[in-house]
């Protein structure tokens, strides 16, 4: 499996973009900047998926991650107060000793992973030597046989069809379990994000806890910043 010509050029562009955007996600001071860099990293990885011939996953990645999850992240960043971080008033990373220990660990992980990939890939190539002969040309020939798209610049591949086939034929039970998982996640996040007032409205709070909390809140309300009051 090799990418040739322009595919190789775009591979390098998008992989370098993904890595740099990932680095900036981790290093950015402002959480909103982090989210925007993460979006560009996810888009670059989606482009890599297209280069690998997985158009359906690339589309799902853009719709679900960039369109859904990252918007959720941005909303939560707006809800919590990150003013101190933006103004450079507080540290964005842990204590130096923890950082040094974790970076040493990451370095070891890099060395280990690269070594594993190197040796493992050599073994894999040796095993599949006969099957990989001319695989690229064969794939290109198959690609040429596909029907052309309306603009004539690309071909209509059967990737989405294959994924759907496989998903409903061989993975229908995991598919149903995933739908239950999403339902549980919806209910769980609604339950978690409720305020005490909303919990009292459906009457599943111990009255003593509620009255204690109300008096405590009234005492705290005076010294809370203005922006926080309308949150609860």
């Amino acid at each position: 499996m090799t990418l040739q010509g322009w595919e190789a050029v775009f591979f390098w562009i998008f992989s370098i973009a993904a890595i740099f955007a990932g680095l900036l996600t981790v290093m950015a001071r402002n959480a909103v900047h982090s989210a925007l860099f993460l979006i560009s990293s996810l888009l670059s990885v989606a482009a890599l998926f297209i280069l690998l011939g997985a158009e359906f996953i690339a589309g799902v990645q853009i719709l679900v991650y960039v369109g859904g999850v990252m918007v959720l992240f941005l909303f939560v960043i707006m809800l919590v107060n990150v003013g101190a971080e933006e103004q450079g008033l507080s540290e964005i990373i842990n204590k130096p000793r923890q950082v040094v220990a974790s970076l040493v660990f990451c370095l070891l992980l890099v060395v280990g992973l690269l070594f594993a990939i190197n040796t493992g890939y050599q073994g894999l190539q040796k095993r599949d030597e006969t099957m990989l002969d001319g695989a690229t040309e064969q794939r290109r020939a198959q690609h040429q046989k596909l029907a052309a798209g309306a603009t004539g610049t690309s071909r209509i591949t059967g990737d989405t069809q294959q994924v759907g086939n496989s998903l409903y034929r061989f993975a229908s039970l995991p598919f149903e379990i995933a739908s239950v998982l999403l339902l549980v996640a919806i209910i769980g996040s609604v339950m978690l994000a409720r305020t005490l007032k909303q919990e009292a409205a459906v009457d599943d709070v111990d009255p003593e806890v509620l009255s204690a909390k109300v008096t405590q809140d009234a005492a705290q309300e005076k010294d809370r910043p203005e922006t926080l009051r309308d949150l609860t």
């Binding site: 964005i92 690229t136 996040s189």
Partner: protein, 135 residues
């Protein structure tokens, strides 16, 4: 003008194609499975470094998304590799990637719900100040 420079380019390319640098150039011109695995490993390491070093709990969640995305890249790369070697079950890698995306979405929804609840009660998003379970 161009004809004047053509032999120079040819000479340079000839020099480039031979030797140790030439081997690297040849492998960079046709990226294969191992390149995708290296990119996935680097994204994974960046995510791990983010989880271990940052104080902001939202950025830690974003780093986890980065880690899951690196895993997805590996799944898709192996799927393509198995397609090219003629494996019948090659598309399973893409099905796995769909499930990884589902789990990531559920995890992000629950995690951000926890962040909101935590912020209401503790008024902090720094992970080192959230030590309720410490004795």
């Amino acid at each position: 003008m161009l004809t004047l420079f053509t032999p120079i380019f040819a000479f340079l390319l000839q020099q480039v194609d031979s030797g140790r640098f030439g081997v690297m150039w040849q492998s960079a011109r046709s990226p294969d499975l191992s390149k995708f695995l290296v990119i996935g490993a680097l994204l994974f390491i960046i995510g791990v470094a983010g989880v271990l070093t940052r104080r902001n709990i939202i950025v830690i969640f974003m780093s986890i998304e980065l880690i899951l995305n690196a895993a997805n890249l590996n799944f898709i790369a192996f799927s393509r590799y198995l397609q090219d070697t003629g494996n019948m079950n090659a598309i399973a890698g893409q099905v796995f990637a769909v499930f990884v995306i589902v789990v990531a979405a559920a995890e992000a929804a629950i995690g951000l719900g926890i962040v909101i609840a935590l912020y209401r009660n503790k008024e902090t998003i720094w992970v080192d100040e959230i030590d309720l379970l410490k004795w």
